[in-house]
Protein backbone atom coordinates (compact mmCIF):
# COMPACT_ATOMS: atom_id res chain seq x y z
CA UNK A 1 0.00 0.00 0.00
CA UNK A 2 0.97 3.55 -0.58
CA UNK A 3 2.79 4.79 2.49
CA UNK A 4 2.29 8.44 1.70
CA UNK A 5 -1.43 7.94 1.33
CA UNK A 6 -1.45 6.19 4.66
CA UNK A 7 0.32 9.14 6.21
CA UNK A 8 -2.11 11.58 4.71
CA UNK A 9 -4.99 9.63 6.20
CA UNK A 10 -3.19 9.38 9.49
CA UNK A 11 -2.67 13.11 9.74
CA UNK A 12 -6.17 13.76 8.48
CA UNK A 13 -7.54 11.51 11.21
CA UNK A 14 -5.47 13.31 13.77
CA UNK A 15 -6.86 16.68 12.72
CA UNK A 16 -10.40 15.38 12.81
CA UNK A 17 -9.66 13.83 16.17
CA UNK A 18 -8.38 17.12 17.52
CA UNK A 19 -11.56 18.93 16.60
CA UNK A 20 -13.71 16.15 18.02
CA UNK A 21 -11.63 16.28 21.15
CA UNK A 22 -12.27 19.98 21.65
CA UNK A 23 -16.00 19.36 21.52
CA UNK A 24 -15.94 16.02 23.30
CA UNK A 25 -14.22 17.53 26.30
CA UNK A 26 -17.22 19.72 27.02
CA UNK A 27 -19.56 16.77 26.61
CA UNK A 28 -17.62 14.57 28.90
CA UNK A 29 -17.14 17.20 31.58
CA UNK A 30 -20.80 18.10 31.66
CA UNK A 31 -21.74 14.44 31.73
CA UNK A 32 -19.28 13.79 34.52
CA UNK A 33 -20.84 16.44 36.71
CA UNK A 34 -24.56 16.38 36.00
CA UNK A 35 -24.89 13.03 34.20
CA UNK A 36 -26.61 14.63 31.26
CA UNK A 37 -25.94 14.24 27.58
CA UNK A 38 -25.95 17.87 26.64
CA UNK A 39 -27.36 17.49 23.15
CA UNK A 40 -27.12 21.21 22.61
CA UNK A 41 -23.38 21.21 23.10
CA UNK A 42 -22.80 20.97 19.36
CA UNK A 43 -24.96 24.05 18.96
CA UNK A 44 -22.62 26.00 21.22
CA UNK A 45 -19.82 25.02 18.89
CA UNK A 46 -21.88 26.20 15.93
CA UNK A 47 -22.75 29.48 17.61
CA UNK A 48 -19.08 29.99 18.37
CA UNK A 49 -18.23 29.51 14.71
CA UNK A 50 -21.02 31.81 13.63
CA UNK A 51 -20.11 34.54 16.05
CA UNK A 52 -16.52 34.37 14.87
CA UNK A 53 -17.65 34.56 11.27
CA UNK A 54 -19.84 37.57 11.91
CA UNK A 55 -17.21 39.53 13.77
CA UNK A 56 -14.43 38.48 11.42
CA UNK A 57 -16.44 39.60 8.42
CA UNK A 58 -17.36 42.93 9.97
CA UNK A 59 -13.78 43.56 11.02
CA UNK A 60 -12.32 42.50 7.70
CA UNK A 61 -14.33 45.25 6.01
CA UNK A 62 -12.31 47.71 8.06
CA UNK A 63 -9.11 46.40 6.59
CA UNK A 64 -7.57 45.27 9.84
CA UNK A 65 -4.64 42.90 10.03
CA UNK A 66 -6.03 39.38 9.41
CA UNK A 67 -4.19 37.79 12.30
CA UNK A 68 -5.45 40.44 14.66
CA UNK A 69 -8.97 39.91 13.33
CA UNK A 70 -8.62 36.21 13.86
CA UNK A 71 -7.57 36.71 17.46
CA UNK A 72 -10.30 39.24 18.24
CA UNK A 73 -12.98 37.15 16.54
CA UNK A 74 -11.89 34.05 18.43
CA UNK A 75 -11.99 35.82 21.75
CA UNK A 76 -15.43 37.24 21.03
CA UNK A 77 -16.65 33.86 19.81
CA UNK A 78 -15.46 32.20 22.99
CA UNK A 79 -17.03 34.87 25.19
CA UNK A 80 -20.40 34.67 23.52
CA UNK A 81 -20.44 30.88 23.44
CA UNK A 82 -19.69 30.83 27.13
CA UNK A 83 -22.62 33.17 27.61
CA UNK A 84 -24.88 30.86 25.65
CA UNK A 85 -23.64 27.79 27.47
CA UNK A 86 -24.20 29.23 30.91
CA UNK A 87 -27.60 30.67 30.01
CA UNK A 88 -28.67 27.38 28.53
CA UNK A 89 -27.78 25.59 31.73
CA UNK A 90 -29.80 28.03 33.81
CA UNK A 91 -32.88 27.76 31.61
CA UNK A 92 -33.05 24.20 30.44
CA UNK A 93 -31.11 22.11 32.92
CA UNK A 94 -31.00 23.75 36.31
CA UNK A 95 -34.76 23.60 36.94
CA UNK A 96 -34.60 19.91 36.09
CA UNK A 97 -31.89 18.99 38.54
CA UNK A 98 -33.05 16.06 40.57
CA UNK A 99 -35.85 15.07 38.22
CA UNK A 100 -35.82 12.10 35.87
CA UNK A 101 -32.90 11.86 33.53
CA UNK A 102 -35.21 11.32 30.60
CA UNK A 103 -36.75 14.74 31.17
CA UNK A 104 -33.38 16.46 31.19
CA UNK A 105 -32.37 14.63 28.04
CA UNK A 106 -35.52 15.69 26.21
CA UNK A 107 -34.99 19.22 27.43
CA UNK A 108 -31.50 19.09 25.94
CA UNK A 109 -32.88 17.88 22.61
CA UNK A 110 -35.34 20.76 22.69
CA UNK A 111 -32.56 23.21 23.41
CA UNK A 112 -30.59 21.86 20.49
CA UNK A 113 -33.55 22.28 18.12
CA UNK A 114 -34.20 25.74 19.43
CA UNK A 115 -30.67 27.02 19.02
CA UNK A 116 -30.30 25.56 15.55
CA UNK A 117 -33.46 27.20 14.34
CA UNK A 118 -32.67 30.39 16.15
CA UNK A 119 -29.50 30.76 14.12
CA UNK A 120 -31.26 29.59 11.00
CA UNK A 121 -33.97 32.22 11.35
CA UNK A 122 -31.81 35.07 12.57
CA UNK A 123 -29.10 34.40 10.02
CA UNK A 124 -29.45 32.08 7.07
CA UNK A 125 -29.65 28.48 6.04
CA UNK A 126 -26.98 28.95 3.37
CA UNK A 127 -23.38 28.04 3.77
CA UNK A 128 -21.39 31.17 4.52
CA UNK A 129 -17.74 31.52 3.55
CA UNK A 130 -15.38 32.06 6.44
CA UNK A 131 -12.81 34.77 5.65
CA UNK A 132 -9.26 33.55 5.13
CA UNK A 133 -7.39 34.91 8.06
CA UNK A 134 -4.59 32.48 8.76
CA UNK A 135 -1.54 33.07 6.58
CA UNK A 136 0.56 30.22 5.23
CA UNK A 137 3.28 29.45 7.68
CA UNK A 138 6.71 29.46 6.03
CA UNK A 139 8.13 26.59 8.04
CA UNK A 140 5.35 24.28 6.89
CA UNK A 141 6.39 24.72 3.26
CA UNK A 142 8.18 21.35 2.94
CA UNK A 143 5.26 19.31 4.34
CA UNK A 144 2.47 21.45 3.00
CA UNK A 145 0.74 18.55 1.31
CA UNK A 146 0.42 16.87 4.70
CA UNK A 147 -0.32 19.71 7.07
CA UNK A 148 -1.78 23.04 6.06
CA UNK A 149 -1.31 26.03 8.28
CA UNK A 150 -4.86 25.81 9.62
CA UNK A 151 -4.50 22.16 10.47
CA UNK A 152 -1.23 22.97 12.15
CA UNK A 153 -3.08 25.56 14.18
CA UNK A 154 -5.70 23.00 15.12
CA UNK A 155 -3.13 20.48 16.31
CA UNK A 156 -1.21 23.04 18.33
CA UNK A 157 -4.31 24.58 19.88
CA UNK A 158 -5.75 21.23 20.82
CA UNK A 159 -2.49 20.22 22.40
CA UNK A 160 -2.33 23.42 24.41
CA UNK A 161 -5.94 23.11 25.52
CA UNK A 162 -5.36 19.50 26.58
CA UNK A 163 -2.34 20.41 28.63
CA UNK A 164 -4.09 23.36 30.18
CA UNK A 165 -7.20 21.33 31.05
CA UNK A 166 -5.21 18.45 32.43
CA UNK A 167 -3.38 20.88 34.65
CA UNK A 168 -6.60 22.53 35.70
CA UNK A 169 -8.39 19.32 36.52
CA UNK A 170 -5.48 17.59 38.18
CA UNK A 171 -3.82 20.27 40.19
CA UNK A 172 -6.03 23.24 40.87
CA UNK A 173 -8.48 23.37 43.70
CA UNK A 174 -11.35 24.06 41.33
CA UNK A 175 -10.35 21.07 39.26
CA UNK A 176 -10.27 18.84 42.29
CA UNK A 177 -13.64 20.15 43.34
CA UNK A 178 -14.96 19.30 39.88
CA UNK A 179 -13.67 15.77 40.19
CA UNK A 180 -15.06 15.48 43.68
CA UNK A 181 -18.45 16.69 42.50
CA UNK A 182 -18.55 14.22 39.67
CA UNK A 183 -17.72 11.36 42.02
CA UNK A 184 -20.16 12.27 44.77
CA UNK A 185 -22.07 15.51 44.45
CA UNK A 186 -23.85 15.23 47.78
CA UNK A 187 -20.65 14.66 49.66
CA UNK A 188 -19.08 17.60 47.86
CA UNK A 189 -21.91 19.77 49.11
CA UNK A 190 -21.32 18.56 52.66
CA UNK A 191 -17.79 19.90 52.39
CA UNK A 192 -18.96 23.33 51.35
CA UNK A 193 -18.52 22.99 47.61
CA UNK A 194 -21.16 25.02 45.82
CA UNK A 195 -22.48 22.66 43.19
CA UNK A 196 -24.13 25.38 41.14
CA UNK A 197 -20.84 27.20 40.84
CA UNK A 198 -19.02 24.05 39.81
CA UNK A 199 -21.65 23.32 37.17
CA UNK A 200 -21.36 26.85 35.84
CA UNK A 201 -17.59 26.55 35.64
CA UNK A 202 -17.99 23.27 33.79
CA UNK A 203 -20.27 24.87 31.25
CA UNK A 204 -17.88 27.80 30.90
CA UNK A 205 -14.95 25.54 30.13
CA UNK A 206 -16.96 23.24 27.89
CA UNK A 207 -18.45 26.10 25.90
CA UNK A 208 -15.11 27.82 25.54
CA UNK A 209 -13.37 24.76 24.14
CA UNK A 210 -16.31 24.05 21.86
CA UNK A 211 -16.23 27.59 20.52
CA UNK A 212 -12.52 27.31 19.96
CA UNK A 213 -13.17 24.16 18.00
CA UNK A 214 -15.85 25.95 16.01
CA UNK A 215 -13.56 28.80 15.06
CA UNK A 216 -10.72 26.49 14.11
CA UNK A 217 -12.72 24.11 11.97
CA UNK A 218 -14.45 26.97 10.17
CA UNK A 219 -11.15 28.57 9.27
CA UNK A 220 -9.89 25.18 8.22
CA UNK A 221 -12.81 24.27 6.01
CA UNK A 222 -13.63 27.83 5.02
CA UNK A 223 -17.40 27.69 5.33
CA UNK A 224 -20.18 26.94 7.78
CA UNK A 225 -23.94 26.88 8.25
CA UNK A 226 -26.37 26.42 11.11
CA UNK A 227 -26.29 22.64 10.88
CA UNK A 228 -22.59 21.99 11.45
CA UNK A 229 -23.05 21.81 15.19
CA UNK A 230 -25.40 18.95 15.17
CA UNK A 231 -23.32 16.37 13.33
CA UNK A 232 -20.13 17.51 15.01
CA UNK A 233 -21.87 17.32 18.36
CA UNK A 234 -23.09 13.80 17.77
CA UNK A 235 -19.66 12.72 16.59
CA UNK A 236 -18.00 14.28 19.57
CA UNK A 237 -20.46 12.52 21.79
CA UNK A 238 -19.66 9.24 20.10
CA UNK A 239 -16.00 10.01 20.76
CA UNK A 240 -16.69 10.75 24.41
CA UNK A 241 -18.63 7.51 24.83
CA UNK A 242 -15.95 5.55 23.00
CA UNK A 243 -13.33 6.82 25.39
CA UNK A 244 -15.56 6.33 28.40
CA UNK A 245 -17.86 9.18 29.15
CA UNK A 246 -16.90 11.29 32.12
CA UNK A 247 -13.20 10.64 31.62
CA UNK A 248 -11.13 13.47 30.20
CA UNK A 249 -8.25 11.43 28.80
CA UNK A 250 -10.95 9.09 27.54
CA UNK A 251 -12.57 11.87 25.54
CA UNK A 252 -9.27 12.71 23.90
CA UNK A 253 -8.41 9.11 23.17
CA UNK A 254 -11.91 8.40 21.88
CA UNK A 255 -11.73 11.42 19.61
CA UNK A 256 -8.49 10.32 18.04
CA UNK A 257 -9.72 6.77 17.64
CA UNK A 258 -12.85 8.06 15.98
CA UNK A 259 -10.90 10.50 13.82
CA UNK A 260 -8.66 7.73 12.56
CA UNK A 261 -11.54 5.32 12.07
CA UNK A 262 -13.30 7.82 9.89
CA UNK A 263 -10.20 8.89 8.08
CA UNK A 264 -9.05 5.37 7.25
CA UNK A 265 -12.59 4.17 6.67
CA UNK A 266 -13.30 6.85 4.12
CA UNK A 267 -9.82 6.59 2.65
CA UNK A 268 -9.71 2.85 2.15
CA UNK A 269 -13.36 1.82 1.96
CA UNK A 270 -15.76 4.51 0.85
CA UNK A 271 -16.25 8.17 1.56
CA UNK A 272 -20.02 7.89 1.40
CA UNK A 273 -20.25 6.02 4.63
CA UNK A 274 -18.19 8.30 6.83
CA UNK A 275 -20.86 8.64 9.50
CA UNK A 276 -21.78 4.98 9.33
CA UNK A 277 -18.28 4.04 10.44
CA UNK A 278 -18.60 6.29 13.44
CA UNK A 279 -21.92 4.87 14.53
CA UNK A 280 -21.14 1.24 13.83
CA UNK A 281 -17.95 1.61 15.79
CA UNK A 282 -19.91 3.14 18.65
CA UNK A 283 -22.49 0.38 18.67
CA UNK A 284 -19.81 -2.30 18.65
CA UNK A 285 -17.85 -0.68 21.47
CA UNK A 286 -20.93 -0.21 23.61
CA UNK A 287 -21.98 -3.79 23.17
CA UNK A 288 -18.65 -5.24 24.17
CA UNK A 289 -17.50 -2.61 26.59
CA UNK A 290 -20.45 -0.53 27.75
CA UNK A 291 -18.31 1.79 29.82
CA UNK A 292 -16.02 2.74 26.93
CA UNK A 293 -12.29 2.31 26.52
CA UNK A 294 -11.18 4.17 29.64
CA UNK A 295 -14.49 4.37 31.45
CA UNK A 296 -15.14 2.97 34.85
CA UNK A 297 -17.73 0.25 34.95
CA UNK A 298 -20.91 1.33 36.65
CA UNK A 299 -21.95 -0.79 39.57
CA UNK A 300 -25.66 -0.89 40.06
CA UNK A 301 -26.53 -1.33 43.65
CA UNK A 302 -29.49 -3.21 44.97
Amino acid sequence: MDLLYFFELFVGGMIRGSIYALIALGYTMVYGIIKLINFAHGEIYMIGAFTALIFASVLSFTGMNPILIFIIASILAISFSVGYGVTMEKIAYKPLRGSQRLSALISAIGMSMFLQNYVLLAQTSDFLPFPELVPDFKFLEPIKYLISSTSFLILITTAIVMIFLTYLIKFTRTGKAMRATSQDARMAQLLGINISKIITITFVIGSATAALGGVLISTHIGQLNFYIGFIAGIKAFVAAVLGGIGSIPGAVLGSFVLGWTESFGTGYISSDYEDVFAFLFLIIILIFRPSGILGRPENNKV
Partner: protein, 235 residues
Protein backbone atom coordinates in the same frame (compact mmCIF):
# COMPACT_ATOMS: atom_id res chain seq x y z
CA UNK B 1 -25.04 26.36 70.16
CA UNK B 2 -27.41 24.49 67.86
CA UNK B 3 -31.10 24.52 68.45
CA UNK B 4 -33.49 22.45 66.41
CA UNK B 5 -37.08 23.46 66.93
CA UNK B 6 -39.93 21.22 65.83
CA UNK B 7 -38.62 20.45 62.39
CA UNK B 8 -40.55 18.39 59.88
CA UNK B 9 -38.81 17.00 56.84
CA UNK B 10 -40.34 15.19 53.90
CA UNK B 11 -39.04 12.95 51.17
CA UNK B 12 -41.57 13.53 48.45
CA UNK B 13 -44.81 12.62 50.14
CA UNK B 14 -43.35 10.67 52.98
CA UNK B 15 -42.76 12.49 56.18
CA UNK B 16 -39.40 11.47 57.58
CA UNK B 17 -39.23 13.77 60.59
CA UNK B 18 -42.10 14.81 62.81
CA UNK B 19 -41.57 17.66 65.23
CA UNK B 20 -37.99 16.91 66.05
CA UNK B 21 -36.39 19.18 68.62
CA UNK B 22 -32.80 18.85 69.75
CA UNK B 23 -30.50 21.17 71.59
CA UNK B 24 -26.73 21.00 71.56
CA UNK B 25 -24.49 23.08 73.83
CA UNK B 26 -20.98 24.22 73.12
CA UNK B 27 -18.36 21.58 73.82
CA UNK B 28 -20.78 18.71 74.36
CA UNK B 29 -20.89 15.30 72.80
CA UNK B 30 -24.51 14.58 72.03
CA UNK B 31 -25.73 11.32 70.59
CA UNK B 32 -28.84 10.42 68.68
CA UNK B 33 -29.68 6.75 68.78
CA UNK B 34 -32.42 4.74 67.13
CA UNK B 35 -33.14 1.89 64.75
CA UNK B 36 -32.36 1.77 61.08
CA UNK B 37 -34.65 4.08 59.18
CA UNK B 38 -35.86 5.99 62.23
CA UNK B 39 -34.86 9.32 60.71
CA UNK B 40 -31.45 9.88 62.27
CA UNK B 41 -29.62 10.52 59.01
CA UNK B 42 -32.45 12.74 57.81
CA UNK B 43 -31.99 14.88 60.90
CA UNK B 44 -28.35 15.37 60.01
CA UNK B 45 -29.19 16.13 56.39
CA UNK B 46 -31.68 18.73 57.52
CA UNK B 47 -29.03 20.39 59.67
CA UNK B 48 -26.58 20.36 56.77
CA UNK B 49 -29.16 21.85 54.45
CA UNK B 50 -29.32 18.96 51.99
CA UNK B 51 -32.84 18.00 52.97
CA UNK B 52 -34.15 21.28 54.31
CA UNK B 53 -36.96 21.06 56.83
CA UNK B 54 -40.34 22.07 55.52
CA UNK B 55 -41.53 23.36 58.88
CA UNK B 56 -39.70 24.34 62.04
CA UNK B 57 -36.42 26.09 62.60
CA UNK B 58 -32.76 25.30 63.01
CA UNK B 59 -30.75 27.96 64.81
CA UNK B 60 -26.95 27.86 64.94
CA UNK B 61 -25.21 30.40 67.16
CA UNK B 62 -28.18 32.69 66.90
CA UNK B 63 -28.50 32.42 63.12
CA UNK B 64 -31.41 30.80 61.38
CA UNK B 65 -29.88 28.22 59.05
CA UNK B 66 -33.03 26.28 58.19
CA UNK B 67 -33.07 27.25 54.55
CA UNK B 68 -29.44 28.18 54.05
CA UNK B 69 -27.44 26.65 51.20
CA UNK B 70 -25.26 23.73 52.24
CA UNK B 71 -22.03 25.51 51.44
CA UNK B 72 -22.91 28.43 53.69
CA UNK B 73 -23.75 26.10 56.52
CA UNK B 74 -20.33 24.51 56.13
CA UNK B 75 -18.81 27.96 56.18
CA UNK B 76 -20.46 28.61 59.53
CA UNK B 77 -18.61 25.59 60.89
CA UNK B 78 -21.10 22.74 60.75
CA UNK B 79 -19.47 19.82 59.01
CA UNK B 80 -20.88 16.38 58.54
CA UNK B 81 -19.26 13.00 58.14
CA UNK B 82 -22.11 11.17 56.43
CA UNK B 83 -23.08 7.56 56.71
CA UNK B 84 -21.00 5.23 54.59
CA UNK B 85 -18.05 7.65 54.75
CA UNK B 86 -18.39 8.73 51.14
CA UNK B 87 -14.74 9.08 50.35
CA UNK B 88 -14.11 10.38 46.84
CA UNK B 89 -12.89 7.06 45.47
CA UNK B 90 -10.77 8.40 42.63
CA UNK B 91 -9.14 11.21 44.55
CA UNK B 92 -5.99 10.53 46.52
CA UNK B 93 -5.97 10.74 50.30
CA UNK B 94 -4.26 14.09 50.07
CA UNK B 95 -6.77 15.39 47.57
CA UNK B 96 -9.62 14.19 49.73
CA UNK B 97 -8.19 16.17 52.62
CA UNK B 98 -7.77 19.15 50.33
CA UNK B 99 -11.45 19.03 49.54
CA UNK B 100 -12.18 19.14 53.24
CA UNK B 101 -10.44 22.50 53.35
CA UNK B 102 -12.22 23.72 50.24
CA UNK B 103 -13.57 26.89 51.80
CA UNK B 104 -10.36 27.87 53.56
CA UNK B 105 -7.69 30.12 52.17
CA UNK B 106 -5.08 30.13 54.93
CA UNK B 107 -2.38 28.01 53.34
CA UNK B 108 -0.26 27.76 56.48
CA UNK B 109 -3.22 26.84 58.62
CA UNK B 110 -4.21 24.10 56.16
CA UNK B 111 -0.70 22.73 56.21
CA UNK B 112 -0.70 22.66 59.98
CA UNK B 113 -4.05 20.90 60.07
CA UNK B 114 -2.91 18.29 57.59
CA UNK B 115 -0.03 17.55 59.90
CA UNK B 116 -2.45 17.40 62.79
CA UNK B 117 -4.76 14.86 61.19
CA UNK B 118 -1.75 12.84 60.09
CA UNK B 119 -0.67 12.80 63.70
CA UNK B 120 -4.10 11.54 64.68
CA UNK B 121 -4.04 8.87 61.99
CA UNK B 122 -0.44 8.06 61.03
CA UNK B 123 -1.74 5.35 58.70
CA UNK B 124 -3.20 7.98 56.41
CA UNK B 125 0.14 9.67 56.01
CA UNK B 126 1.61 6.48 54.62
CA UNK B 127 -1.22 6.24 52.14
CA UNK B 128 -1.46 9.89 51.20
CA UNK B 129 -0.91 9.37 47.48
CA UNK B 130 -3.20 6.38 47.27
CA UNK B 131 -6.69 6.69 45.80
CA UNK B 132 -9.42 6.92 48.40
CA UNK B 133 -11.29 3.97 46.96
CA UNK B 134 -8.40 1.60 47.63
CA UNK B 135 -8.44 2.15 51.38
CA UNK B 136 -9.96 -0.33 53.79
CA UNK B 137 -13.19 0.48 55.59
CA UNK B 138 -11.45 1.61 58.74
CA UNK B 139 -8.97 3.75 56.87
CA UNK B 140 -11.81 5.30 54.93
CA UNK B 141 -13.57 6.22 58.14
CA UNK B 142 -10.38 7.79 59.42
CA UNK B 143 -10.06 9.71 56.20
CA UNK B 144 -13.68 10.82 56.35
CA UNK B 145 -13.22 12.21 59.84
CA UNK B 146 -9.92 13.81 58.92
CA UNK B 147 -11.46 15.37 55.84
CA UNK B 148 -14.18 16.93 57.95
CA UNK B 149 -11.62 18.18 60.46
CA UNK B 150 -9.82 19.99 57.65
CA UNK B 151 -12.79 22.34 57.50
CA UNK B 152 -12.18 23.43 61.12
CA UNK B 153 -15.63 22.46 62.35
CA UNK B 154 -17.19 24.06 65.38
CA UNK B 155 -19.84 21.38 65.30
CA UNK B 156 -18.98 17.99 63.88
CA UNK B 157 -21.85 15.77 62.79
CA UNK B 158 -20.96 12.10 62.69
CA UNK B 159 -23.31 9.62 61.08
CA UNK B 160 -22.69 6.03 62.13
CA UNK B 161 -18.92 6.14 62.31
CA UNK B 162 -18.83 2.56 63.60
CA UNK B 163 -20.75 1.12 60.66
CA UNK B 164 -19.25 -2.08 59.36
CA UNK B 165 -15.97 -1.67 61.17
CA UNK B 166 -14.11 -4.18 63.27
CA UNK B 167 -14.63 -3.63 67.02
CA UNK B 168 -11.02 -2.76 67.59
CA UNK B 169 -11.10 -0.06 64.96
CA UNK B 170 -14.38 1.22 66.29
CA UNK B 171 -12.79 1.68 69.72
CA UNK B 172 -9.89 3.49 68.13
CA UNK B 173 -12.17 5.84 66.27
CA UNK B 174 -14.28 6.52 69.30
CA UNK B 175 -11.16 7.39 71.25
CA UNK B 176 -10.14 9.81 68.54
CA UNK B 177 -13.57 11.41 68.56
CA UNK B 178 -13.21 11.99 72.29
CA UNK B 179 -9.75 13.38 71.69
CA UNK B 180 -11.00 15.82 69.07
CA UNK B 181 -13.69 16.94 71.42
CA UNK B 182 -11.20 17.68 74.13
CA UNK B 183 -8.20 18.94 72.16
CA UNK B 184 -9.98 20.95 69.49
CA UNK B 185 -12.97 21.94 71.61
CA UNK B 186 -15.17 20.65 68.83
CA UNK B 187 -18.77 20.04 69.70
CA UNK B 188 -19.89 16.64 68.48
CA UNK B 189 -23.26 15.31 67.41
CA UNK B 190 -22.99 11.58 67.03
CA UNK B 191 -25.64 9.47 65.36
CA UNK B 192 -25.32 5.78 66.10
CA UNK B 193 -27.09 2.49 65.88
CA UNK B 194 -24.61 1.03 68.28
CA UNK B 195 -26.30 2.61 71.26
CA UNK B 196 -24.04 1.11 73.84
CA UNK B 197 -20.97 2.59 72.29
CA UNK B 198 -22.53 5.96 71.68
CA UNK B 199 -23.93 6.33 75.16
CA UNK B 200 -20.57 5.56 76.71
CA UNK B 201 -18.97 8.39 74.80
CA UNK B 202 -21.68 11.01 74.99
CA UNK B 203 -22.72 13.50 77.61
CA UNK B 204 -26.37 13.45 76.67
CA UNK B 205 -28.49 11.45 74.28
CA UNK B 206 -31.71 11.49 72.32
CA UNK B 207 -33.66 8.42 71.26
CA UNK B 208 -35.46 8.48 67.96
CA UNK B 209 -38.26 6.26 66.73
CA UNK B 210 -39.99 6.62 63.37
CA UNK B 211 -39.24 10.26 62.91
CA UNK B 212 -39.88 11.36 66.49
CA UNK B 213 -37.76 11.99 69.52
CA UNK B 214 -39.15 9.65 72.16
CA UNK B 215 -36.63 10.13 74.94
CA UNK B 216 -33.88 12.47 75.96
CA UNK B 217 -31.70 12.37 79.00
CA UNK B 218 -28.13 12.22 80.14
CA UNK B 219 -26.21 9.36 78.62
CA UNK B 220 -25.84 7.73 81.99
CA UNK B 221 -29.56 7.72 82.65
CA UNK B 222 -30.30 6.43 79.20
CA UNK B 223 -27.93 3.54 79.68
CA UNK B 224 -29.81 2.58 82.77
CA UNK B 225 -33.22 3.07 81.22
CA UNK B 226 -34.95 -0.30 80.87
CA UNK B 227 -36.67 0.46 77.57
CA UNK B 228 -33.46 1.61 76.01
CA UNK B 229 -31.60 -1.39 77.31
CA UNK B 230 -34.16 -3.74 75.86
CA UNK B 231 -34.61 -2.08 72.52
CA UNK B 232 -31.14 -0.95 71.66
CA UNK B 233 -28.64 -2.71 73.83
CA UNK B 234 -30.01 -6.15 73.11
CA UNK B 235 -30.09 -7.07 76.75
Amino acid sequence: MLKIENIQTFYGNIQALQDVSIEINDGEIITLIGANGAGKSTTLMSISGLEPARHGKIIFEGQDITHMDPDRIVQLGIIQVPEGRRIFPFLTVNENLDMGAFLRNDKDGIKKDIEYVYSLFPLLKERRNQQGGTLSGGEQQMLAISRALMGKPKLLLLDEPSLGLAPIIVQQIMAIIKKINIEQKTTIFLVEQNANLALKLADRGYVMETGRITLSDTAKNLRENDDVRKAYLGI
